[in-house]
Symmetry: C2
Subunit: 242 residues, 2 copies
């Protein structure tokens, strides 16, 4: 998968290690404080995996062996109970440290992760990451800060969602995809109405119904999974106060 190239005098400022880590968005975050020799070693030992929409990346309960992070794509982080009902905790992009969550809190994965679109992950032996963290406090502190921010955001989102009614929750999730994921008022929903329901604590019927209401009120237009936000301000008001 990798072979060390001694030099590369291109215009790219990032250091080169003979694999494509230098083009990885997560690289800076993780490895700013790790020295180059170690970085090259990790880089060559990492395992890259491709997943298609719907593919399971991590199954809740699996042994936590690898430190898996999302390099590109979009995933859902969720839990499933004995009756088979799922609850989505987070829709994760790269830099969101999705698969990082709970990596240090247990010996098993606490959440499942499934790809919502074509996604690429990189895996590094967790034992190696833990060694690194022990050897290198700056690296550990860096990880801790990122992880803490992700956790706090999940908590705050849960609290916000809990305060809202059907319309507010539905507006919330539409604005989340528009502003935080696709940065556009026109996008294709990466999840079904049922999954939206699992994300914001509603029933699928009510998600569908509320989306239809928004359409009838000309706040959005719907074409299958294609959503266009027409009246963003009103949607924002609904998310906040209604």
């Amino acid at each position: 998968m990798s072979q060390i190239q001694s030099s590369n005098q291109g215009s790219i400022e990032k250091k080169q290690f003979g694999c494509d880590c230098e083009r990885c968005d997560l690289r800076d975050l993780f490895f700013d404080h790790v020295d180059d020799t170690i970085l090259a070693e990790i880089c060559s030992s990492k395992e890259e995996n491709n997943y298609e929409k719907g593919d399971l990346i991590i199954r809740e309960g699996e042994d936590l062996i690898n430190f898996i992070y999302l390099r590109s794509g979009l995933v859902k982080l969720y839990r499933t109970d004995k009756e088979g009902k799922s609850q989505i905790i987070k829709i994760g992009k790269p830099l969101d440290f999705v698969s990082l969550l709970s990596v240090f809190s247990d010996t098993m994965h606490k959440y499942s992760v499934t790809a919502l679109e074509h996604s690429v992950t990189c895996s590094i032996k967790l034992s190696r990451i833990i060694e690194l963290a022990k050897e290198n406090g700056e690296f550990a502190l860096n990880l801790m800060q990122k992880m803490s921010r992700v956790y706090d955001q999940i908590i705050i989102d849960f609290l916000e969602i809990r305060k809202k009614h059907l319309r507010g929750r539905t507006a919330h999730v539409l604005l989340f995809f528009a502003d935080s994921v696709y940065k556009s008022n026109h996008f294709e929903l990466p999840i079904s109405r049922k999954e939206i329901a699992e994300f914001i604590g509603m029933t699928p019927e009510n998600v569908i119904r509320t989306l239809s209401e928004f359409r009838k009120d000309s706040l959005i237009s719907i074409n299958g999974k294609q959503i266009a936000i027409i009246e963003k301000k009103k949607l924002l008001m609904i998310s906040e106060h209604g």
Copy 2:
């Protein structure tokens, strides 16, 4: 507040540093990997604070200057919105790392903390803790693991609560106090019905009503804030399935 004592040949196995840190429950967790000289320095620079029931320990939005941890007592961790409505995130005991949350994710406190009974906190300059974490990866990793566990538990509790109805939520909170806090089926509620409501996403009226129902069904007995759990198995079933 402290003066170094050179030795203490008593039966206590923990090391002595001239202040009462050696009797602190949190000591092992935090400082197992920090060497004795540093420990003594921290110990003598720490600030200990006492709070009575109802006292505000941390106000959301305050600058995050100190690393404050709960040495003894019981606290609530919560957020308050513009309309003055609060949501309780966690009831925290010592070892729960309550005040630790979000310490590394921002420059401000993200949550407020108020004492629910007489509580003692210790404060250490956050900058010193960050230095320590940078210098000492084992210490940083240790912190990260503890923090991650606390966060994961909050997420899982939120998801569980979200699945339940009024009776299930109310049973959940009673069992939480009985099993996780007081380790007894007879205890005094440290919070009001209103606060229970803020904790589990209900209205105070419905908390009161549901507690009354439980009393009428002889599942519990109520005398003001004194609660005795009579039918624990039934309460457990209600928490899980109804």
